[in-house]
C-alpha cells in the first residue's frame, strides 16, 4: 500500500542520520496500520466545476504518528536553517516553509514516488517529503559536497530525480509549464501517474501558467496545479495583486478545489481526489489555503506587511502540527510526554545532521566545470582569467 511505502520513506531521514540512536518510540500503536480512524477535515471543500470530495478521511494510527513526526521534522529543519542563515553558514536565498508542512505531508500520503512533483524555491520540505535526507538538505544549503546537488544548486535548486522530484526553481511561475511538461511525458508514455505542479499566490498571476493550463486542458494532461496560497506574494498581499484571489476558480473551464492547507487530512483527501480526477478528465487546480510563519525569505522579517497578531493567531488556531497532536491525544495514541520526547528526539536528529553537514567539505575546484553538459565533446571552458584557468568538458 502506498501508505506503508511512503511512511518508510519518510522515516528514512531519521534512521539514516543517527544509526546509533534507535529512534524507537515505537509503541504498539504507531506501527498499527490496520485500525481505521476516521477524521473530519476542518472545513468542507469548496468545488469549482466539480463535486468536492467528502470531509471524512480515513487514516490509521501509524499514519497519524508519521504525520506528526514528519511534520515536526520539517518544522525543526526549517527553524534550524533560520539559525544557520543568521550565522552566515547559509548564503544567498533561503525561503522557509514552516507553517506549510501539511501540504507536503498530506500530498505524499495520497501519491506514489512515480507521481511527479515540481515546485518553486520553497522546496526544502518537499524534498524531504520525497525521501531526501536531512544531511543532503543541510549540506546543500551550506554549499557542501554532500548536498543533494553537490553544493552547486543551493537552497532553490534541490532535486531528487529517482523520486520524481524535479526541483527547485528560481523563476516565479516557470515551474508550472515545466510541470505540465512532466504530465505530457507521463501521458505520452501512457503511464498511470500524475504530476503536481506547485506554485504560490504570487505566481498565480503569471501568463505562462494560463498558457500551460490551456494546453493541459486541451490535451487532457494529468497535471494537478497546486496553488499554495499563503496569502502573500513576497510583501504583497493577495488582495493587492489579484483582482480575483479565488485561485481555485481561475482555471475557468478547468475544475478547482479549495482546501484547508493547514489540515494534512484535507490535503490528503484533495490530492487523492485530484489524482483520480486528472487520470480521467485532464487538469484540475487545487488551492491550498496555507500560511508561512517566516517572511518570504530570510531577508524579509515578514512583519512589515502583516501584523504579529495575525501570525500568532494562525499559529494558535491553525498550526498543522498542533492539529495532529490534538488528534493523537484525542485518540490516545500517545501521551503528551511521549510526543514531547519525540520532538526532542527530532531536535537531536536535526542537530546531528547539521554537525555532519558541517563536516562535509566544499566541492573541489574542478567541480566548477563539471555538469555543464551531459556530453561535452572535449570542449574547452574558461575561468575568469582564461589564460590562467581552462578546463576540458568531458
Amino acid at each position: 500500500m502506498a501508505l506503508t511505502r511512503r511512511s518508510s520513506d519518510l522515516l528514512k531521514p531519521l534512521t539514516t542520520v543517527s544509526s546509533s540512536v534507535s529512534f524507537l518510540n515505537r509503541r504498539l500503536f504507531s506501527t498499527d496500520d490496520t485500525t481505521t480512524i476516521t477524521v473530519e477535515t476542518s472545513v468542507p471543500f469548496t468545488g469549482h466545476n466539480c463535486e468536492p470530495p467528502s470531509r471524512s478521511v480515513d487514516t490509521t494510527p501509524k499514519e497519524l504518528m508519521n504525520f506528526f513526526t514528519d511534520m515536526a521534522l520539517m518544522r525543526r529543519m526549517e527553524i534550524a536553517a533560520d539559525s544557520l542563515y543568521k550565522s552566515k553558514l547559509i548564503r544567498g536565498f533561503c525561503h522557509l516553509y514552516d507553517g506549510q508542512e501539511a501540504v507536503s505531508i498530506g500530498m505524499e500520503a495520497a501519491i506514489t514516488k512515480q507521481d511527479c512533483i515540481i515546485t518553486a524555491y520553497r522546496d526544502h520540505c518537499l524534498f524531504l517529503g520525497r525521501g531526501g535526507t536531512l544531511l543532503e538538505s543541510f549540506s546543500e544549503l551550506m554549499g557542501r559536497k554532500a548536498g543533494c546537488s553537490n553544493g552547486k544548486g543551493g537552497s532553490m535548486h534541490f532535486y531528487k530525480k529517482d523520486a520524481c522530484f524535479f526541483g527547485g526553481h528560481g523563476i516565479v511561475g516557470a515551474q508550472v509549464p515545466l510541470g505540465c511538461g512532466l504530465a505530457f511525458a507521463q501521458k505520452y508514455r501512457k503511464e498511470d501517474h500524475v504530476t503536481f505542479a506547485m506554485y504560490g499566490d504570487g505566481a498565480a498571476n503569471q501568463g505562462q501558467l494560463f498558457e500551460a493550463l490551456n494546453m493541459a486542458a486541451l490535451w487532457d494532461l494529468p497535471a494537478i496545479l497546486v496553488c499554495e496560497n499563503n496569502h502573500y506574494g513576497m510583501g504583497t498581499a493577495e488582495w493587492r495583486a489579484a483582482k480575483s484571489p479565488a485561485y481555485y476558480k481561475r482555471g475557468d473551464y478547468v475544475p478547482g478545489l479549495k482546501v484547508d492547507g493547514m489540515d494534512a487530512f484535507a490535503v490528503k483527501q484533495a490530492c487523492k481526489f485530484a489524482k483520480e480526477h486528472v487520470l480521467k478528465n485532464g487538469p484540475i487546480i487545487l488551492e491550498m489555503d496555507t500560511y508561512r510563519y517566516h517572511g518570504h525569505s530570510m531577508s524579509d522579517p515578514g512583519s512589515t506587511y502583516r501584523t504579529r497578531d495575525e501570525i500568532s493567531g494562525v499559529r494558535q488556531e491553525r498550526d498543522p502540527i498542533e492539529r495532529i497532536r490534538k488528534l493523537i491525544l484525542a485518540h490516545d495514541l500517545a501521551t503528551e510526554k511521549e510526543l514531547k520526547d519525540t520532538e526532542k528526539q527530532i531536535r537531536k536528529e536535526v542537530d546531528d545532521a547539521i554537525a555532519q553537514a558541517k563536516e562535509s567539505p566544499m566541492p573541489e575546484e574542478a567541480e566548477l566545470f563539471t555538469n555543464v553538459y551531459r556530453k561535452g565533446y572535449g570542449v574547452e571552458s574558461f575561468g575568469a582569467d582564461r589564460k590562467e584557468l581552462r578546463a576540458t568538458l568531458p
Binding site: 546537488s149 526541483g167 509549464p177 512532466l182 500551460a212 555543464v372 551531459r374 565533446y377
Partner: protein, 513 residues
C-alpha cells in the same frame, strides 16, 4: 449509393457508427488498372465506428467491424478484414488496430478493396462539427478531387471509386543527388522520429498545416498527433512544456516559428533548460532541441529579422548549431536530436528552398555530423573568412571574386557557434595571417567579436593585419528594400573587407589625400 455514405455525425458527440454495405464494382469504367490475380473482395456488410482521438479535435480513430476478407493482403492492396481488425491505408502503408493501440494514421478516408496498385476509395465525412467540419470537407474534397474524374460535388455513388495509387516508394537515383535544405531537415526529423519513439515535434502549425515553412510536412500523417503536436500561440507555455517533458526523459523538438518569438520563451531555454544539468549536479539533463528560422528573411521588418546566435551562443549549458548546406542540415539536426543536452538549432528561411548536392553517405539514416567542428568549405592561403548560415554562400561568392584579383581566400563554415571551433579558426589564421568574420546579426557583442578575441588571444603573433568584422548594421531592420540591403552584409562588403585585410584596397575615405 447515395450521399448517405457521408456519415451524419451528431453535433457535440464524440462517436459515430455506421453500417455499410460493400458491393464490389464491375471493374472497367474509369479505371486505370492492369490485369492482376487480385480480385475485388466479394460483397459483404460491415460497420464503421469511430471516436474522437483524445489528443485531437479533428482526428478520429476509426475501426471497422465485419466485412470481407482477403487473406492475400499485401503491400498496397486489399483493405477490409473480418473481425475487429481495422485496416487503414495511407498511401502505401497498411496498419492494423489491435484494440489497444490507435493507428498512427488518422485519415478519415478508408480505402476498400484494391487491385494491384489501385484502390477502391470510400470517403467518410463528418457533419455537425462547426469549423472542424469545414476542414474535414476540405480534406475530403481534396482527396475526392484528386481521384480521377470525380465531380467537385463530392457526392453521388463513389463508394467504389477506383483511382491510381501514388508510387509507393521514393527512390534515389544513383547519380549525384541534390536535396533542398527543407527536405534535408524533413528527412532528418523523419528518420530520428522513426528511430526513437521518445522523439516528438511540438510547435505552431507543425502538424495539420504541415509546418509554417513545410519543414515538418508529412510527419503528422506518419506519426500521428501524439508525436506531432500543434500548439496554441503560446511560446512561453509550450517551450516550458517541452523542457518539462525532457526532464522526464522525452526528446522534444520544439519549433519556434522564428527565433524572434523565442524571446517570449527565452527564460525556459536558458534558465529551465541550459542550466538544469549544472544546478542539479548532473541529475537532470535536458535532451531538447529548439529549432526554427533565425535572422533576416526578406522585407519582414525589424521585429522579425534579428539573429540570436550571439545571445544563445553566450550561454554555458547550451549548444548552438548553424547549418548552411543540406548536408549540414541533415547531419547537425540528427546530432542535435541525439544529443543529451539542450541544442538551439538556428536555421535560415531563405536557405530552405536552396538545393545542395548530397552524397549517399549523407542520405544514409545513420549520418551524423560532429557538434563543435567547423568545416573548411574552401581552402585558401591569403585570408580566412569565417561565416555561418546564409553568409557562407555569400563568403564563397566573395572568394570567387577575390580569386580574380589574386586573393586566395579560405572560407570556414562555422556549423557550430557553441561550442565554437577555435582550433580550426586559429589554425586557419596561423596559415593565412588575416581574418574577416561575417555574420548577419548586430555587430556589438556579436559572433565576430568573440572570434576576434579568440584569435587575438591565441594567435596574436600570426596576425599581419587587424581583424575585420562584417556584420548587420547597428540599426533595427528597415523595411524599404534599399535600406534593408544596406542593413545586412552583401558580397561586395565581404570582398572589400578581405581586400582591406590584405592591404589591397583603395585608401579609406578619412585618409584620402
Amino acid at each position: 449509393m447515395d450521399n448517405s455514405q457521408f456519415i451524419q455525425f451528431p453535433p457535440g458527440s464524440a462517436k459515430f457508427k455506421r453500417s455499410m454495405r460493400y458491393v464490389p464494382r464491375d471493374p472497367g469504367e474509369d479505371l486505370d488498372m492492369e490485369d492482376s490475380e487480385h480480385s475485388l473482395p466479394p460483397e459483404g456488410e460491415f460497420h464503421l465506428f469511430g471516436e474522437r482521438h483524445p489528443m485531437s479535435l479533428t482526428r478520429f480513430v476509426v475501426a471497422c467491424e465485419g466485412g470481407v476478407e482477403d487473406s492475400d493482403a499485401e503491400h498496397g492492396s486489399v483493405v477490409v478484414v473480418t473481425g475487429v481488425a481495422f485496416v487503414v491505408m495511407a498511401e502505401h502503408q497498411i496498419r492494423t488496430l489491435d484494440g489497444e493501440r490507435a493507428p498512427n494514421n488518422f485519415e478519415d478516408e478508408i480505402k476498400l478493396g484494391a487491385v494491384d496498385r489501385t484502390f477502391v476509395s470510400l470517403s467518410v465525412g463528418f457533419e455537425g462539427l462547426g469549423v472542424k467540419e469545414e476542414k474535414m470537407w476540405g480534406i475530403l474534397r481534396q482527396k475526392v478531387g484528386g481521384a480521377s474524374g470525380l465531380s467537385s460535388q463530392g457526392l453521388g455513388n463513389h463508394m467504389l471509386r477506383l483511382r491510381p495509387v501514388t508510387s509507393a516508394m521514393r527512390s534515389y537515383s544513383s547519380a549525384t543527388k541534390e536535396m533542398t535544405v527543407r527536405d534535408a531537415l524533413n528527412s532528418a526529423l523523419d528518420e530520428e522520429m522513426a528511430a526513437d519513439p521518445n522523439v516528438f515535434v511540438m510547435g505552431e502549425e507543425v502538424g495539420e498545416y504541415q509546418g509554417a515553412y513545410k519543414i515538418t510536412k508529412g510527419l503528422l500523417d506518419k506519426y500521428g498527433p501524439e508525436r506531432v503536436v500543434d500548439t496554441p500561440i503560446t511560446e512561453a507555455g509550450f517551450a516550458g512544456i517541452g523542457v518539462g517533458s525532457a526532464y522526464h526523459g522525452l526528446k522534444p523538438v520544439i519549433e519556434f516559428m522564428t527565433f524572434n518569438f523565442s524571446m517570449q520563451a527565452i527564460d525556459h531555454v536558458i534558465n529551465s533548460a541550459a542550466k538544469s544539468n549544472y544546478m542539479s549536479a548532473g541529475q537532470i539533463n535536458v535532451p531538447i532541441v529548439f529549432r526554427g528560422p533565425n535572422g533576416p528573411a526578406a522585407g519582414v521588418g525589424a521585429q522579425h529579422s534579428q539573429c540570436y546566435g550571439a545571445w544563445y551562443g553566450s550561454v554555458p549549458g547550451l549548444k548552438v548549431l548553424v547549418p548552411y548546406s543540406s548536408e549540414d542540415a541533415r547531419g547537425l539536426l540528427k546530432a542535435a536530436i541525439r544529443d543529451p543536452d539542450p541544442v538551439v538549432f538556428l536555421e535560415n528561411e531563405l536557405l530552405y528552398g536552396e538545393s545542395f548536392p548530397v552524397s549517399a553517405e549523407v542520405l544514409d539514416s545513420s549520418f551524423c555530423l560532429p557538434i563543435g567542428k567547423a568545416k573548411i568549405e574552401r581552402e585558401g592561403k591569403d585570408v580566412t573568412i569565417t561565416a555561418f548560415s546564409k553568409m557562407v554562400g555569400y563568403a564563397l561568392k566573395a572568394a570567387e571574386i577575390l580569386e580574380k584579383d589574386g586573393i586566395n581566400a579560405e572560407v570556414i563554415n562555422l556549423r557550430s557557434i557553441r561550442p565554437l571551433d577555435r582550433a580550426t579558426i586559429n589554425a586557419s589564421v596561423r596559415k593565412t595571417n588575416r581574418l574577416v568574420t561575417v555574420e548577419e546579426g548586430f555587430p556589438q557583442h556579436g559572433i565576430g567579436a568573440e572570434i576576434c578575441a579568440s584569435v587575438v588571444e591565441d594567435s596574436f603573433g600570426y596576425l599581419d593585419a587587424p581583424v575585420e568584422r562584417i556584420a548587420g548594421a547597428d540599426v533595427p531592420t528597415p523595411y524599404a528594400a534599399n535600406l534593408e540591403r544596406m542593413a545586412f552584409p552583401q558580397i561586395e562588403d565581404i570582398v572589400r573587407a578581405a581586400k582591406r585585410a590584405c592591404y589591397r584596397s583603395a585608401p579609406m575615405a578619412a585618409s584620402a589625400s
